[in-house]
Symmetry: C2
Subunit: 418 residues, 2 copies
């Protein structure tokens, strides 16, 4: 895309009403627009990053047999009364609304109940199970405070998957498959090394632990204890001698860290399926409970985390897999031969499948370089009067030095993807 | 995808609580799940159709320079008070909700106000204009009645684009570019011939007409008068001698038809931009009003229309461009050589980029054929004990006769895309 066409612009001033660094940077760089606290719109470059993250998650969910659906935002009260999650005294972060005739509706904050209800007609036989169903959807949570930018939204994008199994053993197998898929997601996003499977409280439905995925970060809201050699961690909320023994973790091996929760997995036993009267019939004709699991990844939270985690004092630094473009092509000056070479390079890279942000604007070099840094595009390529026919000045966002490369070298470098 | 893996199943019974044929068929075929009247969840095959429609619209909007964003569902009251569209007496189909602190919020029913507000910081100079911005988003409208299935939803998917221009002439040019892009959308969806640019009431912001795009259909809610040779129509609501004269239409050439509105375009003059204090500075430094247009296409409504428009007494008939798969591969029997041949064919087509629904289930031929018809997949391919090495039985959904084709012929046939 040509920057002269892109309607967003970068800003030199930090937004006064944001304390979270991720939101400050994303607003300054024109990736998002703040609608209200915890509610952000995605502008063209931000939409690309969000879509790139969602696509990586989608691919990994599909790879383990996940089937994608799209549940609804509007929720009927009856469904949630059956599981006792309608009353505001029980669930305190609902947004609620009303039909014209006065009937109360919920604004979707999670989707266990509607998923179970929608699958009712399809999972009656043991032959229909197991199944993974997921969606990438907007969720709404009426948080009292929302000061962490994209890390804690009132309206946010989430991937939520649900599994249904016939037995506890089958459930356990599905559960571990998702743990592995999550590992692949974080690796592709560039935070594999910094992200730990973290044991946490299992909630009210199971005597087991739940799993969180925590990315080590100074900005984390959670305190965790990390065993680096085992690549495991335990959340402070369940950090007791008894639990450490159960999990085979040694106090001496653990280091206290701050973490951002980038995923979670819960065993739900048959709490929701039983409450909603959804059972399956086994091969002997007997009615059996369905064992469920739920698996979340915050898509927009990941965008906020990646923004804040990798940023430096010059701005954003996107991992290649999610960047809105791989190359920032800065054309310096508007001499006809420079324009011609830059235009040709832009087209050539486009045809080779390399996404390029082409800075064809009539502004000085310093401003172009500052924008390339603030926007966090992985590679900066310069075309100027000094550029010769087959030699280009390339600089990675994460290094200070540029180098001269030939066209062949350039393509080779840029086509190495995650 | 293998049908043995797909969690949805078809049903032989028509849902009792649906009067709209599109919803009946889509529910019976397992494409959608009804959450409540006018609110549908999309199951795997339905999600594919919805995404296919959205992608066609996206490509055509990008082709004319549209920049994709994603605005928010939650809406701050202040913004809508500035344009006098907050009060329920003025706009009677809002869903409203409240923050935990009691602040009232809207649940997005359209996005003129937030789009203008989000662009405020970017369109101050004449150099930044013109611009097209669009999104494909879920909208919420508190309709009193919702009995038309996907044709009129309380929660529905819509593409809404907004243009901002410096002058009326520039606006008129942008407007006509979208008219042409809409024509390409309907053509790709297979309803090009049945869809008419239809003059309608321009609303309160302009003395001009607005444009609707009406697909001729018995199920239409609108009455229009069609000039088939000019490929134009006029909505009954403005069907007066005076307007006919203005539009150069002759009563004698017009035929009364029923139509489904599959798109609309409004000239908004500077109503929203002025109200929200968003202006641009021209090349002489003077402040000028920004002229806006808005351009809608109902994505889920199109899905409902295509379902109902093309269906026959056996079920759905999807146009190739939006079908969830191009081929329904029915394997008859489970003799090892049949399984082997069908498995190989499934893999071979997949590698050739042909999307296949592979009916590998242990059910009788009649049930497979009935499902192939109900699901509306464009081509049915049969592998049975009678199939020889390089001869396949192929039948189009829209014909009764099958024919034998070789592998080469098959690929050639299937790779011809829209």
């Amino acid at each position: 895309m040509r920057l002269s066409q892109l309607f967003t612009k970068t800003s030199k001033t930090t937004p006064a009403d944001e304390t979270a660094r991720n939101a400050q940077l994303l607003i300054q760089a024109g990736y998002v627009h703040k609608e209200m606290a915890g509610v952000y719109a995605y502008l063209p470059l931000g939409k690309k990053v969000l879509d790139n993250i969602a696509q990586i998650v989608r691919e990994e969910m599909n790879a383990i047999g996940g089937q994608e659906v799209q549940m609804t935002v509007l929720q009927p009260r009856e469904l949630w009364e059956k599981t006792d999650r309608w009353d505001d005294k029980k669930v305190d972060n609902w947004f609620k609304t009303k039909l014209a005739n006065g009937t109360e509706l919920g604004v979707g904050l999670t989707h266990e109940e509607p998923i179970v209800d929608a699958l009712k007609d399809f999972v009656g036989s043991y032959k229909s199970l197991p199944v993974y169903v997921y969606q990438i959807q907007t969720k709404f949570r009426n948080e009292l405070r929302a000061k962490s930018g994209l890390l804690r939204g009132r309206e946010f994008a989430m991937k939520d998957m649900y599994s249904m199994a016939r037995t506890q053993a089958e459930h356990d197998k599905l559960y571990e498959q998702v743990v592995e898929a999550y590992g692949r997601v974080y690796k592709r996003l560039g935070i594999g090394d910094a992200t730990y499977r973290t044991f946490a409280d299992g909630g009210i439905f199971t005597s087991k632990f739940s799993d969180e995925f925590q990315t080590i970060s100074e900005i984390g809201e959670d305190t965790i204890y990390v065993d680096e050699s085992k690549k495991l961690a335990i959340n402070k909320e369940i950090y007791t001698d008894e639990n450490l023994a159960k999990l085979g973790l040694n106090k001496a091996d653990l280091v206290e860290k701050r973490g951002v929760e980038v995923g979670n997995i819960f065993s739900l036993e048959s709490k929701y399926t039983d409450a909603l009267d959804v059972y399956y019939t086994d091969d002997k004709g007997a009615q059996q409970s369905i064992i469920m699991g739920c698996y979340g990844i915050g898509i927009s939270r990941l965008m906020g985390l990646l923004a804040e985690h990798f940023a430096d004092d010059k701005g954003l630094v996107w991992p290649e897999a999610v960047a809105p473009a791989k190359v920032y092509l800065a054309r310096l000056g508007d001499a006809p031969e420079v324009v011609k070479q830059a235009d040709e390079l832009y087209e050539w890279l486009g045809k080779a499948g390399v996404e390029v942000l082409y800075d064809d604007r009539d502004v000085r070099a310093g401003e172009k370089f500052a924008d390339a840094d603030l926007l966090g595009i992985p590679y900066r390529l310069v075309v100027s009067a000094k550029t010769t026919a087959d030699s280009y000045e390339l600089k990675a966002r994460t290094t200070d030095d540029s180098k001269q490369v030939s066209g062949d070298e350039l393509l080779k470098l840029l086509q190495i993807t995650d």
